[in-house]
Symmetry: C2
Subunit: 341 residues, 2 copies
DNA sequence: GTGGTTGTTGCAACCGATTGCAAAAGCGTC
DNA sequence: GACGCTTTTGCAATCGGTTGCAACAACCAC
C-alpha cells in the first residue's frame, strides 16, 4: 500500500483541467484574476487529484513561508506549557506555523539564528523572561521580524516587546505586602541573571518603606523551578533567616518555597506568607492555592502575534513595547488583613 | 539599519569565489567531489558574505526538508512539557526541525495532515496517549513516515508505535497493590475514550484476584488533568464510595485525587493509597511524592526518533511496535508493607 | 464597423538550490 | 610525448510554484 505517494503537482492539475499552469496558480492565489469557468474546472481537477500546493515552492518565489520560529529556553517551567499552548493555537488560527526551537547549551542563539534563516521563517517569537534583549536583537539585525514575549520592559525599546512591566509588578508586590500588614519581608528571586528577576527586585525594594527595605534580605534561586525554590528556601531556613512574608521570583519558586517551609513545620500563611508571579494553572491547584500576580497570558500572546503580523507587513516599523497589567490572584498563601486591622 | 537584508544566494557566492554554482553547491554537500583549492575559496566567499543555504530551495530538488511534524493534543498535561522538551532536543541533535501542531476542535486531524503535506515534512511524530491508531494511520496512508509515541501497544501494529504496554502496566499496578496488602481497591481512569485508559483498566482488573476484582469500582475522570482528578474523587467521596487504594489514570489525575481526599480529611497514604502513571517531574515534588509508574521518557523519545530516521531511509519498512517497561517510583502515597506483614 | 476598456489567459523568466552528463584537467606509466 | 585513468568542473535541466507582460476575447458606446 504505502508506496510513498508522489506529490501531486500544479502541472498535473493544469493538464487535467486543460488550462495553463498559471491558471491553476491563480486559482489558489486569493485576489488573482480567474474566470468562474476556469476556477471551477481547476477546483474539480485539484479535488479529484488531491492537490495541495507546496509551501516550499511557493515560498521560494514569493519569499513567504508562513513559518514562525518559536524560540524558548524555558522547557522546565510548567507555566511555559500554557505559553506554548496559547502560541501554537493563536499562530495556527492565523494560518502561521510554529517552528519550535529549544535553546540549550547544545543549541545556542547562533544556531537558532542560522537555522531559522535557513528555513526562511517569516518571523520569530522569543518566549522567555530570562533572555536579554540583545538576544532578540540578533534576529532583527538579521532582518527578521521578531517580537520578544515576557521581555524586560523599556520605554524606548530596541526590539519589539510584549509583557508585563516587572518593575511595576515588584512595586505591586511591595504595596500588597504592606497593605496586608507584613512588617518583615524578604525577596527570593529567580536567577540573578534573569532580566525579570532584576526588575521585580528593583521595583519591590523601591516601593518598600525605607525602614522595611533596610532589613529586607535578598536571595536568588538558581532557576525558575520548584526544586530551586525549595532548595533556596531550605537554605534560608538553615541559615536561621526568618521573614513573615516573601515575594518570590515566580510561581514555581513560590510553590517550592512553600513546600520547604511546610517541611520545616512552618505553616503558610499562618507563619509565613508567600506571593508569586505568573498565575499558572498549577498555582490554583487545591492544596496550593498560591497568591500570585497573574500574567494575562492570552492577551499577551494575541498582542505578540498581532504585532508580528504588522511587522511582516512593514519590517521597518519602529520597535514598540506593549505592556499589560499583572492581576492579583488572591489565593491562600497570604493572610487577608493586617494584625492591627 | 534593519533594511530587511536580502538573503545571500548561491550565485553570489559563486561569483565572488570565481567558480560555478555547482561548485558551491558541492562544497556544502557532504560527500561531493570538490578539490581542496575550490572548497577553500568557496568557504571564504561564503564566510565573507554570510551565506547559508536555503532549505526551501534545496528541499525542492532533493525532496527532503528535515522538517518533522510534532503533533499532540495534550497541551494541558504537565507531563507533556517534558515530552516536548525531550523531543525538540532530540530532534535538534539530529539536525531535524520540529513543526509543532496543536490539535483541537479548531484544528483537527485533517487540517494537520493537509498542512504537514503542504510543508513537505520528512516525517511525523504523534505524541499522544489518547489518540487512536487510526489517527496516525492517516499519515502513513498519505505516504508520510510516522511514529506514534505513547500509543496503544499491539503485537501486530498497523503503524509504528513506541511506548509502554499499558495492559502490562495495569497488571503491575494490581500486583503492587496486592503486594502491599490492599484488599479494597478501585480504578480511577482517564477519559473513557483514551486507549491508554482502556488498556490500563483491562490489565488492572485482569490481574486482580477474582474476589477483589468483583468489588473493584471503576470510575473515569473526563480528562488527564488535576482538575478532572479532583472532581472525580470529590464525586466518589460524595457518593460514599470508599476504597483503601486507587490506581489512577495518570499523575495529574492522581495528584488531583490526592488533593480531593485531603480536602475531605482523608490522609494519604494512611487512610487511602494512590498510585499513578507517568513519573512526571511534578510527581516528585516534596509535598506530593507520588508513588507512580514512570515512563522512561528519554528512552522512548530516542526510540521514536531513531525509528523515524529509519523510516525516512526506507518508508516501506513494516510497522513495528517498540515497547518499554514502566518503572515503579516508590513515593509516599502507598504504604510500604501489608498490615499483616 | 471602429475604438476603447476591462477581464482572462498563456508564455516564459525566475525563485535558490541539486545533479546527470560530458568536457577538461591532473596524474602516472611506458 | 602519448595514452589511459581518475578526479574536478561547468553546463543545463529540473524541482513546484509565481508573476510581468503581451496577446486575446468580450463587452460597451458611439
Amino acid at each position: 500500500m504505502a508506496l510513498a505517494k508522489k506529490r501531486v503537482t500544479l502541472k498535473e492539475v493544469a493538464e487535467r483541467a486543460g488550462v495553463s499552469r498559471s491558471a491553476v496558480s491563480r486559482t489558489f492565489t486569493p485576489g488573482a484574476s480567474v474566470s468562474d469557468e476556469t476556477r471551477r474546472r481547476v477546483e474539480n481537477a485539484a479535488e479529484a487529484l488531491g492537490y495541495s500546493p507546496s509551501v516550499l515552492a511557493s515560498g521560494l518565489s514569493t519569499g513567504r513561508t508562513k513559518l514562525i520560529g518559536l524560540v524558548s529556553n524555558n522547557f522546565r517551567n510548567p507555566f511555559y506549557l500554557e505559553v506554548f499552548d496559547a502560541f501554537t493555537r493563536t499562530l495556527q488560527s492565523r494560518d502561521l506555523r510554529p517552528l519550535l526551537v529549544n535553546l540549550s547549551e547544545q543549541f545556542d542563539a547562533d544556531d537558532a539564528l542560522a537555522m531559522l534563516r535557513q528555513y526562511s521563517v517569516d518571523g520569530v517569537v522569543v518566549a522567555s523572561s530570562t533572555l536579554p534583549p540583545a538576544f532578540s536583537s540578533a534576529f532583527s539585525d538579521a532582518g527578521l521580524p521578531v517580537v520578544h514575549a515576557f521581555a524586560r520592559h523599556s520605554e524606548i525599546p530596541d526590539v519589539n516587546t510584549v509583557g508585563i512591566d516587572n518593575v511595576a509588578c515588584g512595586r505591586m508586590a511591595a504595596d500588597l505586602l504592606m497593605a496586608r500588614g507584613y512588617g518583615q519581608v524578604g525577596f527570593l528571586g529567580g536567577p540573578q541573571t534573569a532580566a525579570s528577576t532584576a526588575d521585580r527586585q528593583a521595583g519591590f525594594l523601591d516601593a518598600l518603606p525605607a525602614g522595611v527595605r533596610a532589613k529586607c534580605p535578598v536571595y536568588h534561586a538558581n532557576d525558575y523551578s520548584f526544586q530551586a525554590g525549595y532548595a533556596a528556601m531550605a537554605d534560608i531556613i538553615a541559615r536561621g533567616v526568618s521573614r513573615r512574608a516573601w515575594f518570590c521570583g515566580d510561581d514555581a519558586i513560590s510553590i517550592g518555597a512553600k513546600a520547604a517551609l511546610e517541611a520545616s513545620a512552618k505553616s503558610v500563611p499562618q507563619d509565613v506568607g508567600i506571593v508569586g508571579v505568573n498565575g499558572m494553572d498549577i498555582a490554583a491547584w487545591q492544596g496550593i492555592e498560591l497568591t500570585t500576580f497573574r500574567q494575562p497570558l492570552q492577551a499577551i500572546v494575541d498582542a505578540v502575534v498581532e504585532r508580528l503580523a504588522q511587522l511582516m507587513e512593514d519590517p521597518d516599523d519602529a520597535p514598540r513595547a506593549i505592556r499589560f497589567e499583572p492581576q492579583l490572584i488572591d489565593g491562600a498563601t497570604l493572610r487577608q488583613r493586617p494584625k492591627n486591622g
